[in-house]
């Protein structure tokens, strides 16, 4: 095997392991602020992986929107709800052990199962033509996606306006 390929593979595995740790921290940390920061860390590592896989546009959006905006949204939401009482914190720790004890077993089973799974080439769908420029693709054949994105954004803004409308 090519040594450069080995190094790249090792880098990718380290990054993906970091990402998995970030997701575990997001799922299991008690304080929401720390969980939101762990999620932002996961997004940053995903962004680095995207750059390494030659997807710079998606990486930039992931970094600015997911690692930035969504973290801010979560922290804002956390600051608007009541902090947990001592009793709730104690109950959370008690239940966390009971609820999450199966997770390592499930992860190990899935990981081992997939590692020993025979690798078969997947049939890829035939495409009409290969477009390498993302901008040409986004403003050309996928232009309808942009219209959908605009509509979804408007629906989201409208939903938030309705939710926070002062009752008269």
């Amino acid at each position: 095997m090519d040594p450069n390929y080995k190094i790249a593979l090792l880098e990718n595995i380290i990054l993906m392991a970091a990402m998995l740790l970030g997701t575990l921290a997001t799922a299991m940390l008690r304080q929401f602020i720390k969980a939101a920061i762990a999620l932002a860390f996961t997004s940053v590592v995903l962004c680095i992986l995207m750059f390494k896989l030659a997807a710079p546009w998606a990486a930039v959006f992931e970094l600015s929107v997911c690692a930035g905006l969504i973290t801010v949204v979560f922290i804002s939401a956390v600051s608007l709800v009541r902090p947990a009482t001592e009793e709730e914190r104690a109950a959370h720790v008690r239940f966390k052990v009971r609820r999450y004890f199966l997770l390592p077993v499930v992860l190990l089973a899935v990981g081992c199962g997939l590692s020993y799974m025979p690798v078969r080439p997947l049939p890829l769908l035939a495409t009409t033509e290969l477009v390498t420029d993302m901008r040409a693709l986004l403003w050309g054949p996928r232009a309808l996606d942009l219209l959908g994105q605009i509509l979804v954004l408007l629906a989201g803004v409208w939903g938030v306006v309705i939710l926070f409308k002062e009752e008269t």
Partner: protein, 104 residues
């Protein structure tokens, strides 16, 4: 070497991330934690799309789809966070077990 075999480690880690997200979604009763679990699953899907683009050589198409996914993800998260806050204002709790207003 087969391209699928080259990207196999990605597949395993993506599956593990999705499992963590699904597990958290199943066991948690906190509405904000449910949103975090959805985010974890979305991250796994985002990486899956990019890896799919790298395997098929259609990276431009994959990036376009990821862009759309990110926009939808943000809108869903913002609206869901708004709903969570509104529910908290009405009920004073984030525990889904205590949301019984619509129970028949």
């Amino acid at each position: 070497m087969n391209l699928i075999a080259l990207f196999m480690p990605f597949g395993i880690f993506i599956a593990l991330m999705a499992v963590v997200g699904l597990y958290c979604l199943i066991v948690t009763r906190d509405m904000l934690r449910i949103l975090l679990a959805l985010e974890i699953i979305t991250k796994a899907v985002t990486l899956l799309l990019i890896v799919g683009g790298a395997i098929s050589g259609q990276m431009a198409l994959a990036q376009t789809l990821v862009l759309t996914l990110i926009v939808i993800e943000v809108v869903v998260m913002v609206t869901a966070a708004g709903i969570v806050i509104a529910v908290f204002k009405h009920t004073g709790t984030l525990d889904v077990r205590r949301l019984r207003s619509l129970k028949g």
